[in-house]
Amino acid sequence: MKLLAPIYRSAALSAMAALCFTTASVSYADELAPINIVINQSPWLDGFAGLVRRYETETGNKVTLDVNPYAGSLEKQRNAVRSDQSEYDILIVNGIFYPEMYHGGFLEPLKNIDPDFKLDPQIYTYDDTVCFDAVNKTVNCETGDLLTIPVNPNITLMFYRKDLYEQNGLKIPETWDELIANAKALHNPPEMIGMMQRSARATISITWDYWPYLISHGGSLFRDEGNGDFFITINSPEAREALETYVAISKEVGPENPASMEQGDLIQYLVTGRAAHAVLPAAAQSQMDDPNKSIVPGKIGYMTIPHAPGYASAPALGHWLGGIPKNIPEDHKVAALAFLDWFQKPETQIAYAELGGSPVSAAAYESDFADKPENRYMLTMRSASPMARRLWTIPEGSEIVAVLEVGLNRVVAGEISVVDALNGMAAEIEKIMVDAGYDVGRLPDLAN
């Protein structure tokens, strides 16, 4: 019996250890349920996925990413929130489609999950697009509920070849005309394309690239959307000038086939050293200095988007927001909010930048990390972020963008004129708005 005593002791200790482990596991699982996140395939995905792995390591909580193409992610999100119970605990919603989630009442206000939850003061609110005032149907953080946490800023920046600028003694352009002059100086097709813009037709492509032109020429889609005035102004003289500038750049200093250029093409042209300028989301910077992907590491600079004289630069806000659906169990809501809370912390945001993501906190852009030469895009982001402009805040945006994508692409493809496109788009958008119950009109048709 004495001989067996150590064996019994060991067995008893093992059993106690196993019991403790099991108890700990159970209580942990009770605190934080595993969560599913639906997200799209974007240039910044690697950074976000790296952060998720870090979260899992730090907390032991399980996170599954369901990665989809842009349109596929949108469809899955719509299906999820319209079903009895969403299979996703966090939706990574695009800056174009979040209004339908807000207006539809599909997202849980974050304070409903935890009344003490607060947005970190250093997190950007991106034109208040993280909040929704359900009474006045506006995005407004003073009167509305906090519905989302920004996940990626996705502001457009002008990527340019700073080595060529230095060789040719060119100055950073402030206006569109100055940009055209610089692009012409470097344009030498097919070896070097002066300026690349994504003008292809997609879920949202050319609209996003045209937006900075429109706003920075004094144009707009609606007369005063922020105050509920949806009178259509897309066919204004300012919008015409903006589109004519856009088309001129495509034709004079663009590639031979501008109407089929997508984001991937622009990145390809840049990293293979065949483009002098390209408008891209900031997240695409992660591929510029990677010697495995780029033959121009260290040669790409970043500047804010130019503007017309007398107007401010207006980078397009195509950001991504993380929201929690209403139709998930309470323990999943708690787990999802725990992830978002961890995500918004200053130290997490700096780690996000280190992993190649685009942070959404001033903490990262004002950190020492941003001052390193390899992170030079962050300095441009610091100045561009306050100027970034949202597109629209109404759920009809998904129909409007389809009209804009076809109309703008047809102009670049040479199918129709600038004036016909703007007049046609204005008429179609008016119909969408009237059908949706808005009492709106539009500007008189532009004359040819």
């Binding site: 929130v81 009442g105 031979e256 109407a259 089929s260 139709n327 389809a402 047809r410 040479g414 129709i416």
Partner: protein, 292 residues
């Protein structure tokens, strides 16, 4: 067995489960689509709301530029691609039937494109058509011609998609027509040759008329499938540039899903189903009257 044959009602009851199953699988979704085409659907507060809009969705089709472009391009694609596929398929079937034992190798080779998933076909041809480094432009560069923007040019994009469709779907025609060619009665051809008919005369006067029902059926089947073309356009051009490659399935997809307009998308779908059904009915009637 004799009792069973004699009892008509028993026979009808015996197929009832299969009928109900079929109705559930096919008729109910179609009925749902039809009902949806007279409504607008909105989601709010986690609930869907159907609003009756009568014929509004159908009336809106007439002023939808994308719908018109989609119909026109689809008709062009169906006409050109199907004609080419049936012609090439017939030529390959005739050639293959005359090479004896080795025909198995040819059959396997000719069938390969139809076995490749659409997503891979899109990727392959997108790379081949690439303006900068695509193999198609590399080949024409060898003969001193400049690079051609196959997918980015409004005048060439639809033709480029049609070429991919022909490459992808000719094996379908080949397969159906090969079966018909191999079933041709040899004695009639041999008799014609003994009577001094040339190969061409024998083909034109004997083989072709005998093959006609198979050719017609292949054409109709292929046209129906071609009318539903989606993946090639989605992967190669996204309907652009402009509306150059907009096809009706892609338009429906956009209206239905991207723009989240299921009522209008349903009206478009019902209209297309009606058009296809009408074309099939007319074709079958003409074929029946021809054979009589």
């Amino acid at each position: 067995m004799a009792n069973f044959r004699g009892r008509g009602s028993a026979r009808y009851f015996s197929i009832l489960p299969a009928f109900l199953f079929l109705a559930l699988l096919s008729a109910l979704p179609l009925f749902n689509l039809f009902a949806l085409s007279f409504a607008e659907v909105s989601w709010s507060g986690g609930q869907s709301t159907w609003t009756w809009v009568g014929l509004n969705n159908y009336l809106a089709l007439g002023s939808d530029a994308l719908f018109k472009a989609g119909i026109l391009n689809t008709v062009i694609l169906v006409g050109v691609a199907t004609t080419a596929q049936v012609t090439i398929g017939l030529m390959l079937a005739l050639a293959c039937s005359r090479v004896g034992r080795r025909s198995r190798i040819y059959r396997t080779l000719f069938l390969l494109p139809i076995l490749i998933p659409g997503i891979i076909i899109g990727a392959i041809w997108r790379l081949m058509y690439n303006y900068q480094f695509g193999v198609v432009n590399q080949i024409i560069d060898l003969v001193g011609l400049g690079p051609v923007d196959w997918l980015g040019s409004s005048s060439l994009a639809l033709m480029s998609v049609i070429i991919v469709d022909i490459w992808h779907w000719t094996p379908f025609s080949f397969l159906l027509l090969l079966a018909a060619v191999e079933a041709l009665p040899r004695d009639v051809s041999e008799a014609a040759q003994i009577d001094g008919a040339s190969k061409w005369t024998e083909f034109r006067r004997i083989s072709l008329p005998l093959l006609w029902p198979a050719i017609f059926t292949t054409f109709v089947f292929r046209a129906i499938i071609a009318f539903k073309v989606f993946d090639e356009v989605y992967l190669l051009t996204g309907g652009g540039p402009g509306t150059a490659t907009e096809v009706i399935s892609f338009t429906i997809y956009q209206r239905f899903f991207t723009q989240d307009n299921p009522g209008y998308g349903s009206a478009m779908s019902v209209t297309v189903i009606f058009i296809i059904a009408a074309v099939i009915a007319v074709a079958m009637t003409r074929q029946r009257s021809r054979s009589q």
